[in-house]
Amino acid sequence: MSDRPIAIRARFRGVPLALMAVLVGATAVTACSGQNSSQSSAHGTTAARGVLTIASGDATTTLDPGKAAIDASDAVYEELAYEPLINLTNGGQFLPGLATSWAYVGSGNKEFVMTIRSGAKFSDGTPVTAASVAASINYWRNANGPVVAYASAIKSVRATGPSTVEVDCAQSDPNLPIVFSRYIGAGNIISPAGLAHPSALQNRTFGAGPYMLTPSQTVTGSTYTYVPDPYFYDQSAIHWSKVVVKVISNDNAALSALQTGEVNVAQVGADTVAGAGSSLKLYTAPAQFEGLYLVNRDPGSPLANLQVRQALNYAVDREAIAKAIFGKFANPSDESAVPGWDGWDPSYMNYYAYNPGEAKKLLAEAGYAKGFTLTVDSLNQFEMSTVAQAIAGYLSKVGVTLDITATTTVGQYVTDALSKKYDVISMFYGGLPMYVQYQTIFAKNAGVFNPFATQSSLFDSLAAKAAALPGSQGVAGFQQLQQAVVNQAWNLGVLYADETWLTTSNISGFSVGPGNVNPDPGAIGPAS
């Protein structure tokens, strides 16, 4: 830099400083005066009677119940506006919704009859009838949605009277109550007006639930505002003048919003919970099991051998992995089931107690003393690839190498899984009935989680038998299926992890627990 004439520059010293002082002062004045209005403004304490704000990590792709996903962050959009046939309470019980009673008829869980509530109306004032219920369920079955396979046993749904609906299944399906609850969503009944224009279902609601979407106060992908439905059959169950679902994809932002009261409910990761402080309430529920699907059981692959699969199960210290990755929010388990769901058997949690010596012995007996390499398709979400890497550490000690490809999108993860280029797929599976697990993991045509279409006639017969049994006999039957899965070391289950929710302390009625992983937004009310 050249020499500056110092005299001239020095004379200008005072000028810009004065301007800076004014600017800073102006900002301070305007910022301070904001404090007084924070209590009564829209950004103030929204938990004051009137408005409930729920944070969702996902912007829903569509409001159409026929295409909605079922995890809590997606389901909340439909649950507020669509009343299901059968209510699933936060405690996991079934109570009347739009159906006042229901039962399997005969034996074998193939025929299911529901009685429809009289006097219920849709948000446009038209009555809920058996005919409109049947039409709505049939729409759902043909909508190509993500969980339509869970009701694949259904072969016909029809109104058999002004208020009775009969469901006939091609094979036994014991899960129809949950299929017609708010959890799976086939029972989220859509009005005839909505069915007449399915494209309108994508961005407006046509339900018979406690609230309805108001599009004028909704910004797609960001804020969804619901107002009370004047035709809902139980007006005393409506606790808010407005329910707002706010899309907040960042956990830190959700936590800040909870702490300022701008949001009342949010599901956050276990690591965010640590920063929550005592003013917020924490709720947890066992929600998903994680580990590895040992999918390449084709002849010639090491995983085709039972001893090899058992060896892998013995080689892993589940307790250490659960604690290291999830702290107190996970438990070690080798089951493909979660407490609160049928199929869960507490005595099988630690079937393969950590024993690397036994693992090496079994591998040697199977002819793999020198070890081998397995390719793994994993995903960088929900700690799936972290769990895979932790497992890899243990397996390497018994001579088995995991070559892990961690993808970043669900699309890539699924494409890779279906390509059959990977021996192993990272396992992450939510709380669901054992028969649904059978359909989506263990059956020959299960899809993504059984890409090599391995078939076990043992699992097929146990599942078919349990599906035809009523009530508690069915539960015992599905526990037998779980025991067989564990005996066969079909997969490498490592832990089940909790979902964690935080709420402000000025609301009540929120809960999650074993058997219910999606909190019912309609049950939330102001704290008394």
């Binding site: 050249s2 500056r4 004439p5 001239i8 520059r9 020095a10 004379r11 200008f12 010293r13 000028v15 810009p16 400083l17 301007l19 600017l23 305007t30 910022a31 904001g34 209005s37 924070s38 403004s41 829209a42 950004h43 912007a59 792709t61 569509t62 409001l63 295409k67 996903a69 190509n144 993500p146 339509v148 396979a149 494209s199 994508q202 961005n203 910004v219 797609t220 992908g221 960001s222 706010k246 907040i248 994809s249 960042n250 830190n252 932002a253 800040s256 702490q259 300022t260 701008e262 949001v263 999108t409 669900v410 699309g411 890539q412 699924v414 494409t415 279906l418 989506t440 045509n445 899809g447």
Partner: protein, 313 residues
């Protein structure tokens, strides 16, 4: 000058075409598709194919692009693949939010950058060094970390501002302002640094010019020399870098919109690209391109106003 404007506008047409075509190809190369977005990990291969057929995804890529282009040429940007809303409606509010955010941040960065830049140009010694260091810090700290810290201190610990959200100016101008303070300050930080550095260098050059000495010798006030004559002379590179800052903020808003849960175009672009909502992605690419073209045009016009020689060339 008119010729320059017209030429710019004519060149924008092939630019829009190229951007939309490249965007189409890039999205198609990303793993997944709209059917997979809906199904997630569920769905048998048969169900997946049925959904693909329903969404019209089985047509060749160039056919899908052709349909989109034909409609876009008539001003119809189509509807979202998932929620059926017109792309223009979906993007309308968000464009307003983003432009407000970027516009106010650029204005704040310009104002603060000018003040800091001029101050450090006319000061010597320790003060100038301090300004230098603070300016470099502003560039190196990621803006979302600044945002998170600001939220923690000024929204959660001291309830001065809201932690998240956007309030439209029509429903409450005061809340609109309050909801914007933290995001705008966060975004303005890196831009302030760039503008301050550019201003300082340009001012130093300008103050060194012989005509400044002449004005001083003739008794012009220091305020007049600095702000009217030297600054105007230094303005052109500052205007340039301001334009660059504005355009840079188009993508720079993504993280800030996420931290503050603002319904802007940046975070929405990430969302719809992950979902493969192609008509909306194309719409956003077009809007961004048009904004860049407009900004460059405005910068050129300001040049012409500041420097009469440009007008005549």
């Amino acid at each position: 000058m008119l010729r320059v404007v017209v030429m710019r506008l004519l060149w924008s047409l092939p630019l829009l075409f190229i951007v939309s075509a490249v965007t189409f190809v890039l999205v198609s190369l990303t793993p997944g598709d709209p059917a997979r977005t809906i199904l997630g990990v569920n769905g048998t291969p048969q169900e997946y194919q049925a959904l693909r057929a329903e969404l019209g995804l089985n047509q060749p890529l160039w056919v899908q692009y052709g349909h989109w282009l034909a409609r876009a040429a008539h001003g119809n940007l189509g509807t979202s693949l998932f929620n059926g809303e017109p792309v223009t409606t979906l993007l309308g509010t968000r464009l307003g939010v983003s432009l407000t955010l970027i516009g106010l941040s650029t204005a704040l960065a310009l104002l603060t950058g000018l003040i800091v830049g001029v101050a450090s140009a006319v000061r010597v010694g320790v003060a100038a060094r301090i300004v230098d260091v603070v300016a470099k810090l502003g560039l190196s700290v990621p803006n979302f970390i600044v945002g998170l810290v600001l939220v923690l201190v000024l929204a959660v610990k001291i309830r001065l501002f809201p932690a998240i959200g956007w309030v439209s100016i029509s429903s409450s101008p005061w809340e609109w302002f309050r909801s914007l303070v933290l995001p705008v300050v966060t975004l303005a930080l890196a831009g302030t640094t760039l503008i301050a550095q550019q201003t300082r260098d340009a001012m130093l050059d300008a103050l060194d010019q012989p005509f400044i000495h002449v004005l001083d010798a003739n008794g012009f006030s220091r305020r007049s020399i600095v702000y009217r004559h030297a600054l105007r002379s230094a303005a052109i590179p500052v205007v340039s870098v301001t334009g660059v800052v504005f355009v840079g903020l188009l993508s720079g808003t993504v993280l800030v919109e996420t931290v503050f849960a603002l319904p802007g175009l940046g975070s929405y672009a990430v969302q719809v690209t992950e979902q493969h909502d192609i008509p909306v992605v194309e719409g956003i690419a077009l809007y961004f391109t048009l904004v860049v073209i407009a900004v460059n045009l405005i910068v050129d016009l300001i040049y012409a106003w500041l420097n009469p020689r440009v007008r005549l060339s």
